[in-house]
């Protein structure tokens, strides 16, 4: 089976490192090639890592409520870099306060994400969808 490459990281000024490690291990055990950029990752770093590694998907985490500001324009940068159709997921504590999940999901889909996951989503809930999206 062909190995798919995922670029993984926590975007913005966010330093939550534990979940990032858990995701790395889970995706790796599921058979993916994981390029983990760690915490404090800028949009530029996501784009550049995806370019060099010829990645199949970008997995963005955000756990401090500022995701909307941090990810705005990321899809445009990818389009600009010539990899605009790359699969992109986001998950975590994306917004502050108690907003309706369907609205949050809608907002992040408009920002260019293919899948949006609420807090406390487990890796095993995501992996089958990811496999299907990547045609595995």
């Amino acid at each position: 089976m062909e190995t798919k490459t995922l670029v993984l990281g926590v975007i913005g000024s966010d330093v939550h490192a534990v979940g990032n490690k858990i995701l790395e291990i889970a995706f790796r055990e599921a058979g993916f090639n994981v390029v983990n950029l760690g915490v404090l990752v800028s949009q530029k770093e996501f784009v550049e890592a995806a370019l060099e590694t010829n990645a199949d998907a970008i997995m963005v985490s955000s756990l401090y409520g500022h995701a909307e500001i941090d990810v705005r324009g990321l899809r445009d940068l990818l389009i600009e870099a010539g990899i605009g159709d790359i699969l992109m997921y986001i998950g975590g504590y994306l917004v502050v306060g108690s907003q309706e999940w369907s609205e949050v999901e809608e907002k992040f889909k408009k920002l260019g994400f293919d899948r949006v996951y609420p807090p406390s989503t487990l890796p095993q809930d995501v992996i089958p969808t990811l496999r299907a999206d990547l045609g595995l």
Partner: protein, 461 residues
């Protein structure tokens, strides 16, 4: 008998020869002669003749050389993304002792191809893509390079999945070499193997291409570009040998007429607790070359970087006086300071070259305000705990104020975010021993280390 060596540095202006006796662990004679560019063997023979040594002893000595004559090793480095494989390729070339004429990112264009033809590089380092990563870019660039009218040696150090395919795109007339990827994974820098391949190509091909092989009947061989030898010596001092502990983290600064070279040896990890390291890892042995910071050919660009007013104020000159002297130096690079005042200016400019060169080499701290409070982020190497800065090259060595020049390396209160050495000691390579010992270090690291330590730490020279 074979423990006697004559080590030769064929520089762009002077050919320096150093005779050492390994059994006695001492330098027995030194001499220099002007480099003769059309046939370097003439200057070399003059240098050897100037050695105050019995001819038989010279005859039985092994003779090893490094060279920065004929423009040094001129390279072009190519990768995919500027901050990733391009940066890695540039570091590999610099670490091999090359002058990096230009770097290219993404796909080479027709204009780029023409520019490369104009630049006439000695070697092209072709990288791009992590292992298993992007292949389109390096394949495209290989096709462009394969159509160069004159063959250039190509070192391929990109995505290993297509290394063989990339090699296959070049016609027979090109010499191509495959090295391990300079960036096999994001965040992992592997520059040593590519450096070694470049050095091999230099030894086997470039020395002939530049006519440096005319010196061959006098010597065993020209084994590396001079900056690579200096890097080797610095590394030996820092790391020590199998039996002797090294000096630990250190820096070497070489101010020249055209460029300023800065080498650092050390991990560069944060020295303070709680600092988050960001960006690509940097090589343990890192070399940077600043093409706009020099005190002769590049003096006008140096003044531009520093600000003429800054230099004028430091010396109590008018800006016009500083500029006038600088313009003279730039037009006549062989000019030496004629009086105390001009000497002061020379030293002040060299100190600024060190200040800016080191400033660009070292890492930086920045504050980042996050919802969980203020955090410190470090980009590049933290060299604040470096205890030793060694000055080499004619400008530092011949100055009567070498420590003043080297003091430009240290941190200042004005720039607390630059991770420069805080309170280093300054040592001067008064006998031009760095490059020769780098040559010797390949085979005799113990002896080279002992000689380096003796000479650099001696106060009586």
């Amino acid at each position: 008998m074979e423990r006697k060596f004559v080590l030769i540095d064929i520089g762009s202006t002077f050919t320096k020869v150093t005779a050492v006796d390994l059994a006695a662990a001492e330098i027995v004679a030194r001499a220099s002669a002007p480099t003769t560019p059309t046939d370097v063997s003439v200057g070399l023979r003059m240098g050897l003749e100037a050695l105050v040594l019995p001819e038989e002893q010279i005859a039985v000595s092994r003779k090893l050389a490094c060279s920065s004559a004929a423009g040094g090793l001129r390279m072009v480095a190519i990768g995919l993304v500027e901050d990733l494989t391009v940066k890695a390729a540039k570091q590999a070339a610099l670490g091999a002792g090359a002058r990096v004429l230009r770097t290219y990112s993404f796909q080479l264009t027709e204009e780029d191809r023409h520019e490369i033809i104009e630049l006439q590089p000695d070697i092209i380092l072709l990288a791009g893509g992590t292992d298993g990563g992007n292949t389109v870019n390096i394949l495209h660039n290989a096709k462009v390079l394969a159509s160069l009218p004159e063959p250039v040696p190509i070192v391929i150090a990109g995505n290993r999945s297509v290394s063989a395919e990339v090699k296959g795109l070049f016609p027979q007339s090109f010499s191509t070499y495959v090295a391990p990827n300079v960036m096999p994974q994001i965040g992992k820098l592997v520059v040593e193997p590519a450096r070694e391949v470049i050095r091999q190509v230099f030894m086997e091909k470039i020395v002939y291409a530049k006519g440096l092989n005319k010196a061959a009947r006098y010597i065993e061989g020209i084994f590396m570009p001079t900056p690579a030898a200096v890097l080797r010596a610095g590394r030996l001092l820092s790391e020590g040998t199998r039996t002797t502990a090294g000096w630990g983290d250190l820096m070497v600064v070489d101010v020249g007429g055209a460029t300023t070279d800065v080498h650092s040896f050390g991990s560069g990890e944060p020295s303070k607790a709680g600092v988050v390291l960001r960006g690509l890892p940097e090589p343990h042995a890192k070399r940077t070359v600043e093409g706009d910071l020099g005190v002769r050919v590049s003096i006008l660009s140096l003044l531009e970087a520093v600000g003429t007013a800054v230099v004028a104020e430091e010396l109590g000159w008018t800006e016009e006086e500083v500029l006038a002297w600088a313009e003279r130096l730039s037009a006549q690079p062989e000019l030496l300071p004629g009086n105390e005042r001009e000497e002061e200016l020379d030293a002040a400019l060299a100190r600024q070259a060190v200040r800016f060169g080191v400033g660009r080499h070292v890492g930086r701290l920045s504050e980042l305000f996050t919802p969980s409070g203020l955090i410190w982020v470090q980009d590049g190497k933290d060299l604040s705990e470096v205890k030793t800065v060694i000055g080499t090259g004619g400008v530092v060595v011949n100055s009567r104020r070498p420590e003043q020049i080297l003091s430009g390396a240290a941190g200042t209160e004005n720039a607390p975010f630059e991770l420069r050495p805080k309170e280093p000691q300054y040592l001067v390579d008064r006998l031009y021993i760095m490059a020769p010992m780098g040559l010797l270090a390949e085979e005799y690291p113990e002896e080279a280390f002992a000689l380096l330590t003796n000479v650099l730490e001696s106060k009586s020279l």
